[in-house]
Structures are given as structure tokens and as C-alpha cells.
């Protein structure tokens, strides 16, 4: 199990896409390649941009298919962050189906 705690890296507002990409490339992709499950933990994070979430997960959906969502759990997301994640997940599925 890979557990990513965002607050330590992005503070209360997740907007830096470079950090999102680094997490994806260095931690999420290797974990998924090993068949591990992932927890993306947004505790204490108050907001996120669509750009950040897109840079974090869109390529995972493209590389591993939409089934990758069964391996990823989003933890402690407030309503806003849930909304942004839902938008990215939905448009990626609309785009690939």
C-alpha cells in the first residue's frame, strides 16, 4: 500500500502541477506497476485546482485504464476537492470510452 499525504508537500492549497507530476511519476506509477493499492490523502488540504488533479491522475487512467480507480482511494477530501476529482475522473472516462 502506498499512502501519499499531500499536506506535507503542497500545504493547504494543492495547485503546483510540478509537484503533482513528480508524485505521479516517482510514486504512483511505480506503485501501480507493482500492483499496489494507493491512498491519496488530502487531510488538512482545503482546496485543489483541476490542473493539479489532472496532472496527478489523468495519465494513470490513460496508462492503466479506468480500472485503475479500483486501486486508488481518495481520503479526507472536502466537498470542493471531491468535486474537482469527480470532474477529472468523469472527463477522462468520457474521453477514453
Amino acid at each position: 500500500m502506498t499512502h501519499i499525504i499531500f499536506f506535507k508537500q503542497v500545504g493547504e492549497f494543492a495547485e503546483n502541477k510540478d509537484i503533482a507530476r513528480d508524485i505521479r511519476v516517482k510514486e504512483l506509477v511505480p506503485a501501480l506497476e507493482k500492483g499496489e493499492n494507493i491512498i491519496l490523502d488530502f487531510e488538512k488540504v482545503e482546496g485543489a485546482t483541476q490542473s493539479f488533479i489532472h496532472a496527478l491522475i489523468s495519465d494513470l487512467m490513460r496508462k492503466f485504464g479506468n480500472g485503475v480507480l479500483e486501486k486508488i482511494q481518495f481520503k479526507s477530501c472536502n466537498k470542493t476537492i471531491q468535486g474537482i476529482i469527480t470532474i477529472v475522473v468523469d472527463y477522462m472516462q468520457e474521453s477514453t470510452n
Partner: protein
């Protein structure tokens, strides 16, 4: 180049200010002012500062200011950006204003720091800070990623108590929207490029649905949506074109994938702005819950993708 600050330049009447811009002779800048009181949007300041950054201070000529609002210009840092001594002394420790002075942002790290430090300056409640932080972050990141401007983004913002509004201006002197979008699409002119840039799922980096691993083509659509739902003005000026989202009327809220279906005005005959300038007013009286905005964005975005997919469907041949 010549630029004149009229006595009033808010987003609803910003065309007059744009019209007064003379982009000829890019090695010199002449700034003139209305003689009396000036009421100006931060977009005006950001644009002038952005122009000034590309010119040697000795080639910047600034008319002697008579207007009372010269203190405001000094406080917002305009003369500092232009490398001009205004002769005005401001006590920097005074805290009567709620504003973000002109700030240059060139890197992702500078942007993150700016976003963290900016919100307390405007003393906003979380419901208001959330869309502002979002809008600024996405707009400035657009500049850093797409404009190729060596001076980055120039940003300023001001809270106006009378209208209970935060006004924001961001300008760059980069390649402009047409050139960015033209990497993947072929818009015939600046206005069509702006239209594409505001359409969900359209990015200059690819024609692929869903975008690239790094860009989805959603940023400007999100911002236009925030402005639409909250009944705010939103202006985008690039090349010789301008798109202005007008305030929504009526109670029913609907978002459109095509910005030309929103209540708007547009121009394609303005003096050429080398780069992109964006202004937005965030009215604090009409701020809706961000989660409501996201729900509407999701519906519109996905419908836009379905429509674009449908456009590519093969059609039966009836003979």
C-alpha cells in the same frame, strides 16, 4: 508605444482604455494620465507594468501626475515597475488598503508563495478566498506554461468596499493566445483563438480528447464558469481581440461550452497586444458555493466532450 490612463477604466468600459493603446515603436513607452481623479482596474496597472518591464527605464516617459490618485499608483508599485521616481513618499506600514500590489511571477515556486501570501492581504472569508485563489493560480500558471514570456506574469488585485468586489488583473507580454492554440488548431484570427481557449477540452498542446498528461484545456473554462455563476465580469485580451463576459442576468444559471453562447461582448479590431491580458471582478455579494459551481462545470464539460466525440462519428452513406 503610448498608453493613456483615462479617468475611468473598469471592465465594463475597458474597451476605451484598450483603444487608447498605441503599440507602435516597441522600444519606447509614453504613459499619460487623465488630469483629475482616475478610477482604474488592476488590469490597467498590470498591463502598463508588463509593457514597462520590456523597456529600459530611460526610454519610459511618464507624464507628471496631477491626479489625486497618484498615491494609489505609487502604492500599487507602478512607478517602481517602470523604474521611475514619482517623488511621492508613502508610509509602507499604513494598512488602510486591502490590495495586492503589482507583483511579477516567473516560476512555479513564486506562484505557490504568492498564492499563500496573497489571501491574507485581502482579508477574505473562506467562501470568497476559495474562488479567488483558484482563479489566480490557474491564470498565472497559464502564463508560466504557455506564454513564453521572459518576464512571466504581472499581477495586481484590489478590494473595493463600495461594490464589495475584488478586482484582479494579470498581464503578460508573451506569444499570445493565437500562437499557443495554433500549435494544435488553426484558428483564423485572435478572436477565434480566444473562443477555442475558453472552450472546455481545447488545449494548444494536443487535439486529443482529455488533453495530455499535463494539460486538459479546462483552466479558462473553469474561470469563465466561476465568473458566470457569480455574475462577474471577465475580460480576455490577446492580439487584436477581446472577449468580455458580461454579468449574468436572471436567476437561472446555465454554463455554455461555447463562450459565444454566454452573455458577452467581443472586439477584433483593437490595437495589437503582444501577449495576453486578463481581468476579472469577483463580486463578494453573489459568491455561490464552490461545490455548486463544480457541479455545473462537470455537467457542461462532459456534455462538451460527448458533443465533440459525436462530431467525429462516421456517418452512414445514404444513396
Amino acid at each position: 508605444m503610448k498608453i493613456h490612463i483615462p479617468n475611468s477604466a473598469w471592465l465594463n468600459s475597458i474597451d476605451t482604455f484598450f483603444n487608447g493603446f498605441d503599440p507602435s515603436d516597441e522600444n519606447e513607452l509614453n504613459v499619460t494620465f487623465h488630469k483629475r481623479w482616475m478610477s482604474i482596474h488592476p488590469l490597467v496597472l498590470s498591463m502598463i507594468a508588463a509593457l514597462g518591464m520590456g523597456i529600459e527605464p530611460k526610454k519610459i516617459h511618464c507624464e507628471v501626475l496631477e491626479a489625486k490618485s497618484k498615491h494609489y499608483l505609487e502604492r500599487m508599485g507602478l512607478f517602481n515597475f517602470l523604474g521611475i521616481n514619482s517623488g511621492i513618499n508613502i508610509n509602507k506600514h499604513e494598512s488602510s488598503g486591502r490590495f495586492v500590489p503589482l507583483t511579477q511571477i516567473k516560476t512555479s515556486e513564486e506562484l505557490s508563495t504568492f498564492i499563500t501570501e496573497m489571501t491574507p492581504l485581502l482579508h477574505l472569508k473562506p467562501i470568497h478566498a476559495e474562488p479567488l485563489r483558484y482563479v489566480l493560480s490557474e491564470l498565472i500558471r497559464n502564463v508560466l506554461e504557455h506564454s513564453l514570456s521572459k518576464n512571466g506574469a504581472i499581477v495586481s488585485a484590489q478590494y473595493y468596499s463600495k461594490s464589495n468586489t475584488v478586482r484582479v488583473g494579470i498581464a503578460d507580454t508573451g506569444v499570445g493566445i493565437w500562437k499557443t492554440i495554433n500549435q494544435s488548431y488553426n484558428p483564423p484570427n485572435d478572436l477565434e483563438a480566444i473562443r477555442l481557449a475558453l472552450t472546455p477540452g481545447i488545449t494548444g498542446t494536443t487535439q486529443k480528447l482529455g488533453g495530455t498528461e499535463y494539460n486538459a484545456g479546462a483552466g479558462l473554462f473553469f474561470i469563465k464558469s466561476i465568473a458566470t455563476v457569480n455574475k462577474d465580469f471577465f475580460v480576455l485580451y490577446s492580439g487584436n481581440a477581446m472577449y468580455k463576459l458580461l454579468q449574468r442576468t436572471g436567476k437561472r444559471i446555465s454554463l455554455h461550452a461555447d463562450p459565444f453562447e454566454d452573455r458577452h461582448s467581443k472586439r477584433d479590431d483593437l490595437p495589437f497586444w503582444h501577449g495576453t491580458a486578463v481581468g476579472i471582478d469577483l463580486s463578494l455579494d453573489d459568491t455561490q458555493e464552490f461545490s455548486l459551481i463544480l457541479k455545473l462545470v462537470n455537467e457542461t464539460y462532459n456534455q462538451a466532450i460527448r458533443d465533440r466525440k459525436k462530431e467525429k462519428y462516421k456517418k452512414p452513406q445514404f444513396i
